[in-house]
């Protein structure tokens, strides 16, 4: 499912999306970057409250196309710059990790059916 | 509670004297260091000379209900006749022979001016039921057994408790009836992650036992936990204390360093001086003081870079926001 479709389906804020056609094949919810590094599946959108440049670095490592920052957390400039450099999309929602995961799950499931 | 290699916390001088801290393990520790063997031992001794028979020793033990008879002459100590020695003599048929011949001589003795903590170590190490006590001149002055220690500690602790209760009445200016008084202090060591939060958990358990309102319990517990973690993660070690009296719960964190340079900044959302590995443990997001303020009815913080920090959170038990 493309990021563009996902954003449309879930209503995420598109903070910085370099490529709306980038593919998302799943999602991974974690605030522990060590955990994302160890288990983050390639192509999964990272759902997290961690708004640091390190989050971007880890996404590059595991091949995550986008970061969905939850609880309306502020996204600092250095994170934006890092994401722009690495071509990783930044999305945001006021939902918490649990509800964001549910919405993502519904959208991705619908996408698979369609 | 100390992590290996860490120093015990140094606290500022205005902390309450040990002895005002109620049923805190520190009080027990201080007691067994302060009390000497001579404060605890049985001084009035029943003894026998070497020439007395083992049977006389047996009689004495039965009459006086003791488990050992020291053998001494004019204060000069020679040995001890124990129940084991008696049994052996009965079996071997030597019960009419002298104490001097059948007593135990290979003995561990204690000195009367040793702190009780030393004596406890001996009890632990040697598993004897009793130890003879000698003074500086090597004269026998008493005998100490486990029962003496238990009795002395009970007496001292009761005394401490009575002192506390009368102090609380004076401090509050209220009658003891109707004013709940709880006070507990916990030393918190720097980077002691194994125990981080344990004090707050204990505080919550006590609050639940005392059946305070659940929302009040939550707020006190959160304040205590956040302050405890702060002490562990950001200070050189300190003390977390809490008390309840006159409808107020106070949670106070005191440390002796390193001090906060910008208190305003520290109390702001999301600001933290925590480094990477602390964050990897799940701490250091910078919400601590903000959260403490959020759950408290009154919040005070005082700190100076290079010296200590004191944070006080007050939660009203009745009449405040539930």
């Amino acid at each position: 499912m493309t990021l563009g479709t996902l954003i449309g389906a879930c209503g995420w804020e598109a903070v910085q999306v370099p490529d709306l056609n980038a593919e998302a094949t799943g999602a991974y919810t974690s605030d522990l970057l060590s955990d994302v590094m160890a288990h983050g599946p390639e192509g999964a959108v990272l759902i997290t409250v961690q708004n640091h440049t390190n989050t971007v670095a880890v996404c590059t490592l595991v091949g995550a196309p986008a970061i969905l920052v939850v609880r309306n957390s502020e996204i600092p400039d250095d994170m934006r710059e890092a994401a722009a450099r690495e071509g990783i999309a930044l999305l945001r929602t006021k939902d918490d990790q649990f509800n964001a995961s549910l919405k993502m799950g519904r959208a991705l499931a619908a996408g698979k059916q369609g | 509670m100390n992590a290996p290699g860490s120093q015990p916390p140094v606290v500022p001088d205005d902390r309450p004297e040990l002895g005002e801290t109620g049923n805190d393990p520190l009080v027990l520790l201080e007691l067994i260091q302060r009390l000497k063997v001579r404060d605890v031992m049985t001084p009035d001794l029943v003894t026998l000379p070497r020439a007395a028979s083992m049977q006389q020793a047996q009689e004495l033990m039965r009459q006086k209900k003791i488990s050992g008879v020291p053998v001494e002459e004019n204060g000069r100590f020679f040995g001890l006749v124990s129940i084991d020695d008696i049994i052996r003599a009965l079996v071997a048929g030597t019960i009419h022979e002298s104490c001097g011949r059948h007593m135990t001589t290979k003995l561990v003795v204690l000195e009367d001016d040793m702190p009780l903590s030393f004596a406890l170590r001996y009890f632990d190490r040697y598993h004897y039921g009793r130890f003879p006590v000698l003074n500086r001149d090597r004269r026998l002055v008493g005998i100490i057994c486990q029962r003496d220690i238990n009795r002395a500690l009970l007496v001292e602790l009761t005394r401490e408790l009575q002192r506390l209760e009368s102090a609380s009445v004076q401090r509050g200016g209220e009658g003891a009836a109707g004013s709940l008084y709880l006070l507990r202090e916990f030393p918190i060591c720097k980077y002691d992650f194994e125990n981080a939060g344990k004090a707050a958990n204990q505080i919550k358990q006590v609050l639940q036992e005392k059946q305070f309102a659940s929302k009040v319990i939550r707020r006190i517990a959160v304040a205590a936990y956040e302050l405890e973690i702060n002490l562990c993660v950001h200070s050189d070690g300190g003390v977390l204390s809490w008390q309840v009296s006159s409808g107020r719960a106070e949670v106070i964190a005191r440390d002796a360093g390193p001090g906060i340079e910008d208190v305003e900044w520290a109390c702001r959302d999301g600001t933290s001086t925590a480094n990477e590995w602390i964050r990897s443990l799940g701490f250091g997001a910078g919400m601590g003081l903000v959260n403490v303020r959020r759950v408290s009815d009154e919040f005070e913080i005082a700190s100076k870079k290079g010296s200590g920090t004191t944070v006080k959170a007050v939660i009203y038990i009745e009449g405040g926001a539930a």
């Binding site: 919810t29 549910l102 799950g105 | -």
Partner: protein
């Protein structure tokens, strides 16, 4: 939905029954930042987390959580089981990812 039903849905192994196994789950929180957990005012919370540390349990007790499920099939340090027992905190582990766990719990609570 009770903690024990949650454990079933998540194919989770219950390591410590605690006081919460038969209690109803209210709010669900999926977070690894204990500081965020301490900000929540909900009672009867289920905590889904990737963080396998004693502090998770201590934080859970402070906020009155019904139970903790550690996800991603993470092996837990033995100290966690001891702490959970001390605090009577229901503790389980699941091989599911946190994301899949969220979806699964929700699906079980709101069957189509």
């Amino acid at each position: 939905m009770t903690m024990s039903e949650v454990a079933e849905v998540l194919q989770a192994e219950v390591l410590v029954k605690g006081d919460g196994l038969l209690r109803r789950v209210g709010h669900v929180m999926a977070s690894d930042l204990m500081s965020d957990v301490l900000l929540v005012d909900e009672e009867d919370m289920l905590l889904l987390t990737s963080l396998a540390s004693d502090q998770v349990l201590r934080t859970a007790q402070i906020v009155g959580a019904v139970g903790v499920v550690v996800v991603n099939g993470k092996p837990l340090p033995s100290s966690m089981v001891n702490v959970a027992n001390d605090l009577h905190m229901t503790l389980a582990t699941s091989r599911l990812s946190k994301y899949d766990a969220c979806v699964a719990v929700h699906a079980a609570r709101h069957p189509l």
